[in-house]
């Protein structure tokens, strides 16, 4: 990460997956968390092409002493209401995700967690109630490389998935679940009473950041559904169902028009598609070890 300060603000230049971000902020509390999250990634050149120009500013002057605020800005827009200043980091993360969803049309962007093993990608679409983030986080410490907890970026060249390893927001119970399941996981400070409840971020594992330029060929799509106490059920899903569900679970399928249609159809054709219901992370993690072709030489 490159950084430099002016009298009023700090400037950062860092890479997040295929995107180079320039961030300017006077909020001092952001710097340590930014470094913690993104320092391990390869540093962009000083004149690198910047995809996202972001600012996290302080709120209006009159509020600075009683209840200071943070305001997220993207190019010349202010897309969100202010957050309390001590929630500046979650604001930055969610804001960045929003910007990627609005601008990343070079890719077909699916709302999904993604992991890689042996050069092949496992896509976990984020249907409601899927527990996708917790599952993705858990698998990242079970022999899978973490590509993303939120975006499956499918390119137009070879239909590969591009990593976008970002801080994964764990909500409420998931924080403790991951702490217990993966002692090696590095979890950041807890932010209480955010708009999404209590949130703490899982730092992307080191190798996820170091290898974030390595794409993966999609091989499996598993639609997970978490039901507490449920026994594991995993079975094949029809391609027409997988296509339809994914088309509705994408950030930009509609916007991409014919390109989106063809790219999604190709993806479905090359992947084995499943749906799974699970009540225990151990069960589904073990089942995923049995995915066809996973341990092929």
């Amino acid at each position: 990460m490159l950084s430099y300060s002016t009298s009023s603000a700090q400037n950062f230049l860092y890479r997040s997956g295929p995107f180079v971000v320039r961030l300017r902020t006077p909020i001092k509390g952001l710097q340590p968390l930014l470094r913690w999250c993104y320092d391990a990634a390869e540093e962009p050149a000083a004149d690198a092409y910047v995809h996202l120009n972001l600012r996290v500013d302080q709120g209006p002057l009159r509020r600075r002493f009683l209840k200071p605020q943070a305001v997220f800005r993207f190019e010349n827009r202010t897309p969100f209401e202010p957050y309390p200043q001590n929630h500046a980091f979650p604001l930055l993360e969610w804001g960045t995700n929003w910007c990627i969803a609005m601008r990343g049309h070079r890719f077909l962007m699916l709302h999904a967690g993604v992991l890689e093993r042996g050069g092949q990608a496992l896509i976990l679409p984020a249907m409601p109630g899927s527990g996708k983030t917790t599952l993705t986080a858990a698998l990242a410490y079970r022999g899978w490389r973490f590509l993303s907890d939120e975006f499956a970026l499918i390119d137009g060249d070879r239909g590969h998935v591009h990593p976008l390893p970002r801080a994964a927001p764990l909500k409420n119970n998931a924080i403790d679940v991951i702490r217990a399941l993966a002692p090696a996981a590095e979890i950041g400070p807890v932010f209480e009473k955010t708009r999404k409840g209590t949130v703490a971020h899982l730092r992307p594992p080191r190798d996820a950041l170091e290898r974030q330029h390595e794409t993966a060929a999609p091989a499996w799509i598993v639609f997970p559904r978490y039901i507490a106490g449920h026994d594991l059920r995993i079975g094949r899903l029809s391609r027409s169902m997988a296509f339809t569900r994914l088309s509705q679970n994408s950030f930009n399928y509609r916007i991409l028009g014919a390109t989106g249609f063809e790219r999604l159809a190709t993806l479905i054709r090359r992947c084995a598609c499943f749906s799974a219901e699970y009540g225990r992370l151990d069960d589904i993690a073990a089942a995923l070890e049995g995915l066809p072709g996973l341990h092929a030489p």
Partner: protein
């Protein structure tokens, strides 16, 4: 039934359609409208026929009956009429006056081909 003979059914914009065939269903994208549809076998087959050329209602249900190895009954006719109206509501097919139809009943010709801006290559 308003599917009078003398009216042809045809696809609105066959060249704008993208197809992805699965086992028993077909996903369809219409570049003209930006809409994606999921069609079961009968509507998909019907649409394919209408993309090849225009059909009268009578010829269409007869041909589909033979493809599906079923008899032509009033129930079958109604079924095909239903399929056609569903596809019409999705702007995939339309009724066009046949060449031999009577002229001018006061309504303007429906549809009509628009000169489209240059299509860009699929990225």
């Amino acid at each position: 039934m308003d599917d009078a003979t003398g009216c042809n059914w045809g696809a609105v914009a066959p060249s704008a359609l993208h197809w992805a065939e699965w086992d028993t269903e077909t996903s369809l994208f219409n570049a003209d409208t930006g809409e994606t549809h999921l069609l079961s076998e009968l509507p998909a087959t019907t649409l394919r026929l209408l993309c090849e050329r225009d059909w009268t209602f009578d010829a269409l249900y007869a041909h589909l009956a033979s493809l599906c190895e079923t008899d032509v009954t009033p129930a079958w006719q109604e079924k095909i009429a239903g399929v056609l109206h569903s596809l019409e509501a999705l702007e995939l097919v339309e009724q066009r006056a046949a060449a031999t139809a009577r002229g001018g009943d006061g309504t303007r010709p429906r549809g009509g081909t628009f000169q489209r801006s240059e299509e860009h290559a699929v990225v």
